[in-house]
């Protein structure tokens, strides 16, 4: 039994880096997940989400950094920690030549569960596969395989559930089912869920906290309610001397609103009604403004702070 204080994070990642030969997939990434969170892990394809999640599940060894789960160092307490984690990693691949029941039984035994037919059938019933329990998986649709993958992830009643791109390849009904399942796990069963996606709309609807990464680096981490607040916006500021502007802003009340700088722009997160005040303060601080452009939505911001705008540019050209 792993005990942890309610206020302490379940997952603490510090300075996580993964280097593949010449590619740095994840760079100095730090974040924490609290008990009961639905933690949205957001980033473009290739941003480093899957690499990070695989490091959380010991599938990939970090080059640097530390991962603590349930208050214990992951590598040293691997089996104890993994016994309380359920995971679906990208495609729900299972043994296609075995039936749903046999697959579930096999993985339940590996998870250390005392297997009974009742337990397995109940689990299959929960994901709507009880009637297909004896059918081989090769006859299943992608959505059915995904549901079986979830049954496998949940069969040992884990405290932490990790879902890496769980809606990939699913139809709209399948996507809605996954969304409802995540909400059910969080609200009704009080589970902690880490869910990754490259689709903002998916994360927006379920997450309580969000981490956005791009090219292996953390862009922003915060409460979803604040990040997704429609009254909030991101202002992109370009000045004649960004160094001086940053210095002045950090010394002012706007310091707490500053976001990590991207390229030549300074990003400031604020309430839409504060934009005029910001404008006045910039003049008072003698900052020569080249442009002050509010972004209209979080999606706009997401595309801005990640590499997504590059794709838009490509299509525009």
């Amino acid at each position: 039994m792993v005990l942890y204080n309610n206020m302490q994070p379940i997952v603490t990642v510090t300075g996580l880096t993964k280097q593949f030969k010449n590619l740095t997939a994840v760079q100095d990434l730090s974040f924490s997940v609290n008990e009961g969170d639905v933690y949205g892990f957001l980033g473009q394809n290739g941003a480093g989400k899957s690499t990070t999640i695989r490091m959380l599940l010991t599938l990939i060894a970090p080059t640097h950094g530390c991962i603590e789960i349930f208050g214990k160092e992951l590598t040293a307490n691997r089996n104890e920690i993994l016994s309380q984690i359920g995971a679906v990693i990208e495609k729900p691949d299972v043994y296609k030549y075995l039936s749903a029941y046999e697959n579930l039984k096999l993985f339940a035994r590996l998870s250390g569960v005392k297997v009974t037919e009742q337990l397995l059938m109940d689990q299959l019933e929960k994901v709507g596969l009880a009637s297909r329990a004896k059918d081989t998986v090769k006859t299943f649709s992608q959505g059915m395989k995904q549901r079986l993958g979830i049954a496998i992830a949940l069969v040992h009643d884990p405290k932490l559930i990790v879902l890496d791109e769980p809606t990939n390849g699913l139809d709209p009904q399948g996507i809605a089912d996954i969304r409802n399942l995540i909400l059910h796990l969080s609200r009704d069963l009080k589970k902690t869920v880490i869910v990754s996606s490259h689709l903002l709309s998916e994360i927006e609807q379920v997450a309580t906290r969000v981490l956005i990464i791009d090219r292996g680096k953390k862009i922003i981490e915060g409460n979803a309610a604040e990040l997704f607040d429609p009254s909030q916006t991101i202002v992109e500021l370009q000045t004649f001397d960004n160094g001086y502007a940053m210095e002045q802003l950090q010394l002012s009340v706007w310091g707490q609103h500053l976001q990590p700088q991207r390229d030549t722009a300074i990003l400031i997160k604020l309430d839409r009604q504060q934009i005029s005040q910001l404008h006045r303060d910039l003049v008072d601080m003698d900052i020569q403004v080249l442009s002050l452009q509010p972004r209209h939505s979080l999606e706009d911001y997401f595309l801005q702070v990640t590499s997504g705008n590059q794709h838009v540019d490509t299509y525009s050209n």
Partner: protein, 291 residues
């Protein structure tokens, strides 16, 4: 650990591919049995054509023991391919299906996971050899009866008495199991490096073919490395059928011409098995699962 091995065996024997090897052995032995049953006398005449003028042989040359020896000589060259079909698929097949990443998120150490898979591979190898023994030895004993075993070596002939043969076959199959386990452990090692089983199967067979050629080439420069090649020692089972003779050139019942050679070969094979598996564990423990 037993649970893990059970699961691995369950997976092996639920895959249709597993039974290809059993079916192939059954078919090949069946063809040999059919041919020899139909026209065995011609085969014996052909075998004895060079020595009938110098010695007279009485009794039933084409008996179950003789047929078993013929089968082993033919099949033990090809069985490695059948072993590699499963052994080289053990990790690469899981990576290909995408199940490796799910397996490794379960609370089982990678060493235990690998050990269970290796034990299951050995169990499969042994079962295949047991099946080979059932068909090649026991079935042939029933179909062709038993008598003395007459073996033509390159420079001499060996005649083993009927009552001095069965135990030699048991040891020969035991030795063959060791040789095939070496092949299995090599295929197992190669299966770590690929995400489909074709590459490891081809690599395993390529190494065996390459080493076998080196083992048989009579070029002095290769003689120094021959003792270290596992393929040199895989045919050690034949040594059980070489017998000592006394001063009167009479066979000594229950003897083996060169038991030390068998022991040396067995030690080399065991060292290879341990080496291949240890390398597998060391590599697998550090392997990033990207499949």
């Amino acid at each position: 650990m037993w649970t893990l091995i059970q699961i691995e065996l369950f997976k092996i024997f639920r895959r249709p591919r597993t039974y290809i090897a059993f079916a192939a052995i059954t078919g090949l032995i069946g063809i040999i049995q059919f041919g020899l049953k139909l026209d065995g006398d011609s085969y014996v005449d052909f075998m004895m054509r060079d020595i009938t003028s110098s010695i007279t042989v009485e009794g039933k040359i084409l008996n179950g023991y003789q047929v078993c020896y013929i089968v082993l000589q033919v099949l033990l060259v090809h069985v490695p391919l059948l072993i590699a079909l499963v052994a080289a698929d053990m990790i690469s097949g899981e990576a290909n299906m995408g199940t490796l990443r799910i397996m490794l998120t379960k609370p089982i150490s990678r060493t235990r996971f690998l050990l269970a898979k290796f034990m299951a591979t050995i169990a499969y190898t042994l079962l295949l050899l047991v099946w080979l023994a059932v068909l090649a030895l026991f079935l042939n004993m029933i179909l062709f009866g038993t008598d003395d075993l007459f073996l033509l070596k390159s420079q001499y002939v060996v005649l083993l008495k009927k009552d001095d043969i069965f135990w030699r076959y048991l040891w020969a199959f035991g030795f063959a199991a060791l040789a095939m386990t070496t092949v299995a452990s090599l295929g197992f090692l190669f299966s770590l490096f690929a995400e489909n089983s074709i590459g490891p199967i081809v690599a395993t067979m390529s190494v065996i073919i390459f080493f076998t050629i080196l083992s048989t080439l009579n070029i002095p420069v290769f003689n120094k490395i021959k003792p270290f090649l596992f393929t040199t020692h895989m045919i050690g089972w034949k040594e059980f059928f070489d017998i000592k003779v006394n001063d009167a050139n009479e066979a000594i019942v229950g003897s083996i011409q060169n038991p030390q050679k068998i022991i040396n070969s067995a030690v080399v094979l065991v060292i290879h098995i341990i080496g291949f598996f240890t390398a597998s564990v060391l590599i697998f423990k550090k392997k990033d699962v990207l499949s």
